[in-house]
Symmetry: C2
Subunit: 259 residues, 2 copies
């Protein structure tokens, strides 16, 4: 069996948000991520695999067999967005989740304010899933959780963890009085010197370069900070790092909430 030129073109076009949105789909690659997604309650649209792996995946997930098409290495290379394609490429219907009124303030939410890098976003989704965070609430200009780089970096966790996009100021305005909204700031209090709310709370992570924007900052009522332990005063080793990577900061924050 081989792919038509039309199929090749359609699958390549899914690298662009515009075409994924038109067909309301997202794509994922590599056996590890694809199998994570096949195990989740998602609607598979099509699966393209090299002959050896096609047999393996059909054995593990018999229900995908009718949507499975074998492809050659050459075809896989043409549809893949990876430098080194790995056995399989899948297309799923993009899930549409709706946040019920008031649900945003139940349990723990990570709030992303303009996070731009899809790799960071995917890594944060993976972290949030690991630490049992209930959802991600993203400003409208945050990176798209279903773009291929994010799906790959999340290792498939994007299938499980609900991610919502909204106007943060409008959403926060509906919070109950005194609802804890944490954010990380240079002048915040030492994260390790206080217990963090592990029941109902929002925790905000900002943009990689500019941090949390002023409008969001005004909504935050608990400012925290991950302190450095760098021997900044040693003359031969001036303080190098100015900050931590956004995903690493999210990991330390989530671990601290749970520890």
């Amino acid at each position: 069996m081989s792919l038509s030129n039309q199929q090749l073109k359609t699958l390549q076009a899914y690298r662009q948000k515009k075409f994924r949105r038109e067909d309301d789909v997202f794509v994922a690659e590599t056996p590890k991520v694809v199998e994570m997604l096949l195990a989740a309650p998602l609607n598979l649209r099509a699966l393209y695999a090299l002959p050896d792996y096609a047999e393996t995946v059909a054995g593990r997930f018999p229900s995908c067999a009718p949507l499975l098409q074998t492809v050659s290495e050459k075809e896989l290379t043409r549809i893949s967005g990876l430098t080194s394609p790995q056995h399989v490429f899948g297309v799923w219907a993009q899930p549409h989740r709706r946040l019920a009124p008031g649900e945003a303030f139940k349990g723990l939410s990570l709030v992303l304010d303009g996070l731009q890098d899809p790799g960071n976003l995917g890594t944060i989704i993976r972290i949030a899933d690991w630490f049992g965070i209930d959802r991600l609430i993203c400003s409208e200009d945050t990176a798209d959780a279903f773009q291929p780089k994010c799906v790959q970096a999340s290792m498939g966790a994007v299938a499980h963890l609900p991610v919502y996009y909204m106007d943060l100021a409008r959403a926060a305005s509906e919070a109950p009085d005194g609802f804890p909204f944490y954010g990380t700031f240079l002048e915040g209090e030492n994260l390790f010197a206080q217990p963090l709310t592990a029941t109902d709370a929002w925790y905000c992570i900002g943009n990689e370069s500019h941090g949390i924007r002023p409008a969001t900052r005004a909504l935050i009522n608990r400012k925290i900070h991950i302190p450095t332990f760098s021997p900044a005063t040693a003359p031969d080793r001036p303080h190098a790092a100015e900050s931590l990577n956004a995903a690493v900061a999210a990991g330390i924050l989530c671990a601290r909430i749970r520890a």
Copy 2:
């Protein structure tokens, strides 16, 4: 002023380890990273900047002026290894640090066993610097700390934090009796349920896919684990993430050592 073809070729060749090694140099880009390196005790070999930024950087770091050459946007694009070149490209002599006998067991070391991704390595260097870890001790097959992607991901921290490559088994064989050598394993003890040594210790992070290899595992006397809090049992949300990204795990580990 413009670059000769020979200069262009030489600078492009520095994307490859072979040519960096021949000239004993490493390269870095973007104002943020370049300025971090210019502030560190390193030997600058050459600096190539767009006219506007050339003036800025010469003002901030007057000692770099004799080694500074202005280039056009077109030239910068040709020498840059980035998708979006940013104002400046620098070449430094690669530092060669020697570990004095016994020094490996003084203070805190992160030990990397076959870590492959240069982005992860750079992020770990940035984390280690932030948390005042004394050094990185890497197996010989760990990624090169001075490759461009790692230098960029470290945000320049590679200028400060000593990174050594060695045979881990041979190095560990010289440890004092009972020296704490921690490693993360699925069956390890809960990281949050015990205090971690913050004086002299080794902490091991393994390869992204295969973890810590058996030979290294045999040297480790304290097995730990970052527990998950994912509601794995909920039928509509089976446990997705199998693990955390290696750099995120290193961040949580370092934060826990210090907290």
